[in-house]
């Protein structure tokens, strides 16, 4: 009996459930993808590159689970409000509150299970795609990666079941406390007339002020540092909410005051609808503006991070390769790369020291970044006498950097001694030669650096006993680039999919909000039709009305992103790198939702014509 009630109730609100469902499916899929990426044990353990990405996806999972929880909570309360009247009727015919609560929980459970099944299937597909993209992007094999990973499936299911249980329990408890008469009335509450503006001027001023402070602190992030990190998000959010609360009704009222435009065609109807909609949706719209900023920001941040991997590697490494004891294979390969500069150095090592030749160093001082001026320079020639204090040879800072540049693999393992040539020749110990090479564009020859690295593995094995190229990596520009790039790619994918998940969730909330009011509008559009308004005119009115509802949060959200990307100037060189791509992605998804909403809305209110 109860099951039957639940099913018929759901069938009646199929459309609303379907919209909720899509949002839920996407979040299940992305959730699962994040989990497989971060939990796949064998795959992680065997892969030094992936080791770096894993925490990124874990962070993404945490962020996603928090937002998903709120999404579930929010949508679940919508569902309840949709069914209140029906539940009130059940109460009227004598069904107990507990039973009604059970019906509601059961419904939520059924939806969650349905979303889990489809979402997990989609998630597997998504993991396949993402892992393939990562694989080809990072040039690593993902042999051990399992697209269907049981623990990830389990945790996803557990999380969503628990979250839906909690939200539906909270709401059915709330339901139990509501008197039947109130449930029955909940549908009747007529959309009240918009309140006369009180304090709107003050609210608007405060809103603009807060937003201004927020934008300024974002813009001067580098100067403000931690103060900015606090003020920027707080004031921007406060400003957004204030502006939506105060400004939207005022704008629509202004429109309406323009009699000439308002009394043309069905403009009065369109603006009247908007008036009601904007004032009842203002909190949702403000929230959506913030979420848009977050999601587009996440996507843009991902792009910028990926770009930064190239920029930052060139900042810390002036030479693209340092080849130890290069053999003929290395020399031949190097000959195919157009070099700007190449220099050879010699190092001898005994048990305690690494020895460099002073004359050789002075003859060709390598490029280093001066840590005081941040300029790329060649160090001044070394002095004749270099004191030794506490077993540590005192040399200019730039030369310390130069030695690390010349000998990246060994520099950190032992102390150094720079000695004159004659002394060097007398030192007994194993000698290695190192060839430094520099091109105009490191990123253009990645494949060659990788090939050189592979050739060097043999040298590393003889030079450093116990070296295993499968698990160990020697410090080099390419190896460091590879792990940074992996991290950046992970961040990129995380930002991208997190943004995608946020965006789908919030767009589905907006869509849901608009469509759940559509039932009330059927009569209005029907009246207009009866009065002789052409269908085309009604369709246009719908497109325009919904466009404006979508436009406000979209514009403000994008503005937030444009200013907000400054936030990343902390850690990124070019935070605005390819921002247009993420804006385009945002526009495509958001626009898609807009057209879909218009389509569904038209179908609902104009269907019988």
């Amino acid at each position: 009996m109860i099951l039957k009630l639940a099913l018929t109730g759901m069938r009646k609100k199929r459309r609303d459930y379907l919209i909720l469902f899509t949002g839920l499916i996407i979040s299940v899929a992305v959730f699962y993808m994040f989990l497989t990426m971060s939990l796949n044990k064998d795959f992680i353990a065997r892969n030094s590159v992936i080791n770096h990405i894993q925490p990124v996806f874990l962070v993404g999972t945490v962020l996603l689970s928090v937002t998903t929880f709120f999404y579930l909570f929010y949508t679940n309360s919508f569902l309840l409000s949709l069914r209140k009247k029906e539940f009130g009727l059940y109460g009227l015919i004598g069904v107990k509150k507990q039973q009604i609560g059970r019906v509601f929980r059961l419904e939520t459970l059924v939806i969650t299970i349905g979303a889990l099944v489809i979402g997990l299937a989609l998630g597997v597909l998504l993991s396949r795609v993402v892992s393939w993209l990562l694989m080809s992007g990072l040039d690593v094999g993902f042999a051990e990666f399992k697209v269907i990973y049981v623990p990830a499936v389990m945790w996803t299911a557990v999380y969503f079941l628990i979250a839906s249980f909690i939200t539906s329990s909270v709401h059915s408890a709330r339901l139990a406390k509501t008197p039947i008469i109130e449930l029955l009335r909940s549908d009747v509450q007529s959309e009240r007339v918009v309140k006369k503006p009180t304090l709107t001027a003050l609210q608007t001023m405060l809103g603009v002020l807060f937003l201004g402070i927020g934008y300024l602190s974002l813009y001067f992030m580098e100067q403000l540092r931690f103060i900015g990190l606090f003020t920027a998000p707080v004031t921007t959010t406060a400003g957004t909410y204030l502006l939506f609360a105060a400004l939207l009704p005022v704008i629509v009222r202004k429109w309406k005051r323009n009699k000439k435009a308002n009394l043309r065609g069905i403009n009065a109807f369109t603006s009247g609808q908007l008036n009601f909609r904007l004032s009842s949706l203002k909190w949702v719209l403000a929230t959506i503006a913030m979420l848009i900023a977050l999601s587009a920001g996440a996507i843009a941040g991902g792009f910028a991070f990926k770009n930064d991997a190239f920029l930052s590697i060139d900042r810390s490494w002036q030479y693209d390769a340092a080849l130890y004891n290069p053999g003929s294979a290395e020399i031949a390969l190097l000959a195919t790369i157009p070099l700007q500069e190449q220099n050879s150095f010699h190092v001898k090592q005994d048990d305690t020291y690494l020895y460099y030749v002073r004359e050789e160093l002075n003859a060709a001082p390598p490029l280093v970044t001066d840590w005081e001026t941040y300029r790329v320079v060649r160090p001044e020639p070394l002095p004749e006498n270099m004191k030794i204090e506490d077993d540590y040879q005192i040399i200019p800072d730039n030369w310390v950097a130069a030695l690390e540049t010349i000998n990246p693999a060994l520099a950190g393992t032992k102390s150094f001694r720079i000695v004159p040539l004659e002394q060097y020749e007398r030192i007994t110990g194993e000698e290695v030669s190192i060839l430094l090479a520099r091109t105009a564009d490191f990123s253009a020859y990645l494949q060659k650096w990788q090939a050189l690295e592979e050739l060097q593995n043999d040298v590393y094995s003889t030079m450093m006993p116990g070296f295993d190229p499968k698990t160990d990596a020697v410090t080099s520009k390419y190896s460091q680039f590879k792990s940074q790039y992996a991290l950046a790619s992970g961040t990129f994918f995380m930002g991208f999919f997190l943004g995608l998940a946020f965006l789908t969730m919030m767009a589905s909330i907006l869509m849901f909000k608009i469509l759940s009011g559509a039932a009330n509008d059927i009569r209005r559009y029907d009246s207009l039709r009866k009065l002789g308004v052409r269908r085309k005119l009604l369709e246009n009115s719908i497109s325009r009305e919904i466009l404006i509802v979508f436009l406000f949060p979209g514009v403000l959200g994008l503005m937030h992103v444009l200013v907000g990307m400054r936030l990343f100037s902390f850690i990124l060189q070019e935070p605005y790198y390819r921002l247009w791509v993420s804006i385009l992605i945002f526009l495509a998804i958001y626009g898609g939702y807009y057209f879909f909403t218009v389509h569904l809305y038209r179908k609902i209110v104009l269907s019988h014509q």
């Binding site: 007529s190 959309e191 009240r192 007339v193 009699k259 000439k260 308002n262 009394l263 043309r264 065609g265 069905i266 403009n267 009065a268 109807f269 009247g272 609808q273 008036n275 009601f276 009569r523 209005r524 029907d526 009246s527 207009l528 039709r529 009866k530 009065l531 002789g532 308004v533 052409r534 269908r535 085309k536 014509q609």
Partner: protein, 257 residues
């Protein structure tokens, strides 16, 4: 006399063909001349609203044909029908059909706005008509803030503002007290007499019907009888009461009330 409306053997069947179909109007014919004020009476559920909706081009006929102003309705496209309604017809619906998201002023102005009339003209007309109907003080309110009778009057103002050729009214006095009802009917009668507006009005109220120049009685979807006044309004009122009593007696044994 120019015929404005001609309904020929029209029927309306609700529901899918075959299964549980319900015929609300069957094989009904009547004509209306320009300047006539016709009343339609009959028991609840007899098909009055259905008939009005078909005449109003809102509902297609299942069978038969309706001609308005010499044009067959079934031959018109959807847009033509819309324009036709907007220009030639005025509606007073049984359930008002005011638009809640617009002020009373905007509601009344709508038919003129649809023709893109000048703002000054719109304002003048709305003030004029709402003054006649007696809702001049409520123009800036929203329908939700009005009483039932006030809503009905707003709906009437909207139906009259563009001076339609044919006014269709479904129980326009249903929610009014007798004094307001009288005012409204006087207004309708005046429009009919002075401006030659043709009116087709569904009503349950014999007194309202007595204002008409002809009354059609409908029973079970069929035209049962026609009545034309022969003397004073009071005499017509009595005649209508007699016919209604007769109708009631005939259906008293088990039919619908």
């Amino acid at each position: 006399m120019k015929p404005i409306l001609h309904a020929k053997n029209i029927s309306k069947t609700y529901g899918k063909k075959g299964t549980a179909a319900y015929t609300a109007v069957r094989d009904l014919s009547f004509s209306m001349n320009e300047g006539e004020f016709i009343g339609i009476m009959g028991p609840s559920g007899s098909g009055k609203t259905t008939l009005l909706n078909m005449v109003a081009t809102l509902d297609p006929v299942t069978e038969g044909d309706i001609t308005i102003d010499g044009v067959s309705v079934s031959a018109m496209t959807e847009d033509q029908l819309s324009d036709f309604r907007a220009e030639r017809l005025g509606f007073i619906f049984q359930d008002f059909n005011l638009l809640e998201s617009m002020t009373v002023f905007e509601n009344i102005a709508l038919p003129l706005s649809l023709r893109n009339a000048e703002v000054e003209e719109i304002q003048d007309r709305v003030l004029q008509v709402s003054g006649i109907i007696g809702i001049g003080e409520l123009l800036e309110n929203y329908p939700a803030e009005l009483s039932g009778g006030q809503k009905q009057r707003a709906a009437i103002a909207r139906a009259l503002i563009h001076e339609p050729a044919l006014l269709l009214a479904d129980e326009p006095t249903g929610a009014l007290d007798s004094r307001n009802a009288e005012t409204l009917l006087d207004t309708l009668a005046e429009l009919n007499a002075v401006r030659n507006v043709s009116i087709l009005m569904v009503t349950h109220d014999p007194r309202s019907a007595s204002y008409c120049s002809r009354v059609l009685f409908i029973k079970d979807g069929k035209l049962d009888r026609e009545l034309v006044p022969s003397g004073t309004r009071e005499a017509f009122h009595q005649e209508i009461l007699t016919v209604l009593g007769d109708l009631d007696r005939r259906s008293g044994a088990g039919g619908r009330a």
